[in-house]
Amino acid sequence: MTRLPELAIDTTATFVVSTALATRDFQDVHHDRDAAVARGSRDIFLNILTTTGLVQRFVTDWAGPRALVRNVSVRLGVPCYAGDTLVFTGTAKPDGQDTVVDVVGKCSLGDHVTGTVRVSLP
């Protein structure tokens, strides 16, 4: 088993908004703080397409450009609000021809995301 280098992301309001728009997710809870609060959230929060993308980035940052991502499977936990820090940790182990990485992304409220990524390494 190999431990991956940790990845810490400052999920500033700018980060939450720019990633929501880059993933073409225009739900107001990802860019409009008043709307998010009115719906019972503390602040705007990360959207799921970004969480999935960050899980993939965390693994390819470690695996390198020649790795092929085959599968990303995530289970969502607590929301990651603007102003928080999201820290990814993971361990990799071989699985047949592939490598499977168990990933956890934690923010101040707890586990924001847990999941696995399957990659083919060169």
Binding site: A22, Q56, N71
Partner: protein
């Protein structure tokens, strides 16, 4: 209601895959660059190839998008909205990529309903798990698949409402006391034994004519729990619930305020204070004696 939700789910499942819905734009470098810039992804294979996790981005409905009539997630959402399960949260997403995409390729997506499971009690409220399966195609070639699960739930009552005590003829004197900020302990007028919680008969002599005394509300923590879950309306968890042994010898439950869960200790001296909920209800609470 459960039956009609299940019937509608079965009908939508029968319909199978929705018609292919084309992406607005072909896979393209500017959108890839926006994505890698926003997410901070410096993998040098982009933008000559598209990040696999972008597959869903290409077919997002966009700012003014309207769901297709045969989109099963849209149809199921409407059924559950109408049944009062109006809130939504995504719980699972699993994407499988058969190959990487290149700029210029044109995607289309189809979606079918996999299953609808419920009603389930969850931390967020009662709800239904709705699972859809999507497939992305380039022409006739499937290039990626996704399992997507959301919880459609009925939001709990607005915060601020509280769980109210049951007031009956045995406990009425106690709650009349808290309204006047008096901590009343039931006493048997015959044998003078004190007792709490209140009841109709003296457990020592059987007398059925209870009286009470007013306590100054001093005591110490006899035991306690730290309540993390389930949610309590109007409370931010965790909270400390302390069983306090009063100087008079009876034990009484209440929330211990201003002491963090890590700092509570058995034997800690406390005194009563009052938490006014509304004009009908005041609760006794404990505060640490400095």
């Amino acid at each position: 209601m459960t039956g009609s939700i299940e019937a509608e789910a079965a009908r939508l499942r029968q319909l199978g895959e929705s018609r292919p819905r084309p992406a607005r734009d072909p896979v393209n470098e500017p959108m890839i660059n926006n994505w890698t810039e926003a997410l901070g992804d410096r993998n040098p294979v982009y933008p000559e190839l598209a990040p696999p996790a972008m597959v869903q981005v290409w077919t997002m409905y966009g700012l003014n998008g309207v769901r297709d009539a045969d989109d099963p997630l849209g149809a199921m959402t409407k059924v559950l909205d109408d049944a009062g399960f109006t809130s939504v949260v995504a719980t699972n997403c699993e994407q499988t990529y058969h190959r990487y995409l290149k700029p210029g390729e044109r995607l289309a997506v189809t979606t079918r309903l996999s299953d609808v499971v419920g009603p389930k009690r969850t931390a967020l409220g009662e709800g239904w798990f709705v699972t859809t399966l999507s497939t992305w195609y380039v022409g006739d070639e499937p290039v990626a698949e996704m399992m997507f699960r959301v919880l459609k739930f009925a939001p709990p009552e607005p915060t601020g409402s509280v769980i109210r005590p049951l007031v009956n003829q045995d406990t009425e004197f106690f709650w009349a006391g808290t309204a006047e900020r008096e901590l009343r302990i039931q006493r048997c007028p015959d044998c003078r034994a004190l007792r709490h919680p209140p009841g109709p008969f003296c457990p020592r002599c059987g007398s059925a004519t209870p009286d009470y005394v007013v306590s100054p509300g001093r005591g110490e923590v006899f035991s306690y729990v730290v309540h993390h879950h389930p949610p309590v309306p109007g409370k931010r968890l965790p909270i400390v619930i302390a069983l306090v042994e009063l100087e008079e010898g009876v034990r009484m439950l209440g929330e211990l305020l201003d002491v963090s869960p890590d700092d509570v200790r058995i034997g800690q001296p406390v005194t009563v204070d009052w938490s006014r909920v509304d004009s009908d209800l005041t609760l006794p609470v404990w505060r640490a004696v400095p």
